[in-house]
């Protein structure tokens, strides 16, 4: 009730000093928040292609998915990508239908993803850096731990991440019908080509 006894100007002065006190009190918090957001260093893929290739006895099979989404945290090294399996484009459309219908069972397992960590790189280094990615790769509803080599290159504010590794179809429970086994290899070579920009 004593507030009412004070003049308006007194209240103003008091409030001002109180505000300064609070600002001082919370300054470390503000600092922390800003450091925290700085440390995120989030990168989003502006161009992300996942493609694969396999030598067949009769014909080679290749396809590319250019509609992959990906986030990369340059400080923690954490990375993830996600794609719709149906977005893989084949030079041969019939192969594309068979890929979705018979092998990937896209209606049942529409998405494929990776979640893991890239280690062994520095944001300030120039040129190609050999890195390692470890994490969980999900294909055809099956998740496997993988450990694959790759490269990271810093170009201005863009970050380019590349990797090439072999995926064994059986590891992901992808069965090739007996009748066409000769046509399709039991493993495919997957190529990752991502260009990230900061958020």
């Amino acid at each position: 009730m004593w507030i009412l006894l004070l003049s308006p100007s007194d209240i103003q002065t008091f409030n001002l000093s109180l505000m300064i006190f609070f600002k001082k009190l919370f300054f470390p918090f503000f600092l922390l928040i800003s450091i925290h957001s700085y440390s995120q260093q989030r990168f989003f893929a502006e161009k992300a292609t996942v493609s694969f290739f396999s030598d067949g006895v009769v014909e080679d099979i290749s396809a590319a998915n250019e509609k992959v989404t990906s986030i990369f945290d340059a400080v923690s090294g954490e990375v993830a990508y996600l794609m719709n399996v149906k977005d893989f484009q084949f030079p041969n459309k019939l192969m594309q239908v068979h890929f979705n219908e018979k092998y990937m069972e896209t209606e049942k397992y529409p998405k494929s993803s990776f979640q893991g960590k890239i280690s062994g790189f520095s944001l300030t280094a120039s040129g190609k850096q050999e890195v390692k990615a470890t994490g969980k790769l999900t294909i055809h509803g099956v998740t496997q731990n993988i450990d694959v080599p790759g490269t990271v290159e810093v170009n201005g504010n863009r970050l380019s991440v590349k990797s090439k590794f072999v995926v064994k179809l059986l590891d992901y429970n992808i069965k090739v019908p007996q009748i066409v086994w000769q046509n399709i290899a039991q493993q495919v070579e997957v190529t990752i080509d991502f260009v990230y920009r900061p958020l």
């Binding site: 409030n15 986030i71 996600l82 149906k86 459309k93 239908v97 209606e107 979640q115 066409v180």
Partner: protein, 310 residues
Amino acid sequence: MILFTDPYNLKCMRRLILLLLITPLAAFAQEDLLGELEKGSKEEVEYAFATFKGTRLGNGHTVETKNAGSLEFIFQHRFGAISGGAYELFGLDQADVRLGLDYGITDNLSVSISRNSVDKTMDGYFKYKALRQSSGAKKFPVTITALAGMAYKLSPKDFEEGSGLENVDRLSYTGQLLIARKFTTNFSFQLMPTFIHKNLVEYNEVNDQFALGFGGRIKLTKSVALTAEYYHNFNLPDNDLVDDPFYMRYNSLTFGIDIETGGHVFQLLMTNAIGLTERAFITETRDDFFAGDIHFGFNVTRTFQLKKNK
């Protein structure tokens, strides 16, 4: 006390509290980058694909069209009736053939030309996939394909028929809607309202005939499926009024097995029809399935990708 009464400070505090509340949330979200990607992905239109293995269900069409730039060679064979017995090697001694080419102008529009040994018929058609079954961001229950075809009978030769048989008399037209739904990965069903106009008909037939077909497939494995197809012609002549089997007409019924291997589709069939144009199997089937006049047959297709998909 003042802090909570002064409007300015109240606003500051609110902001601060909000910030403090949000910060741990943001930190939490950061831990799961994949979850964030999943949240960010928009719902897309999911079109049903591979409702049927091939462009043919049995004798007639499915909603499927050829993809842009791909050419399908189709080789269809119908043997004689099994009821011919051992003397005819259960029909295998005779055969009628249709050789055809289907080409995808776009993913939804196909054009075809073929030759059928029954009545030495040349036929051609346009097939257009007008609407596609979809789920997700845009939902539509069925795939609808329209077919417009024309068939020209080269047989009989002019002089056999005497004067009077003009070119137009050899022509017939087909207009058909193919309406299919892929209910599950393994089960698809199709309805085929069909209109056929024949310029010249036998004395007991009408020129305009309407039929409703239905059929479907059940997938047994990823590459093998069972199929069935039946066309009910509402304008068939009454068989009781004729004695000559040549003038008798029956509805066509077909059962088959689809086997797909890479670029090939093999369809093994049992049917009472031997003709492979709509005119022939919908309006001119002379054998009765239920009297045992069943023919073994097959359709074999091979698809060639002429233009690479970019």
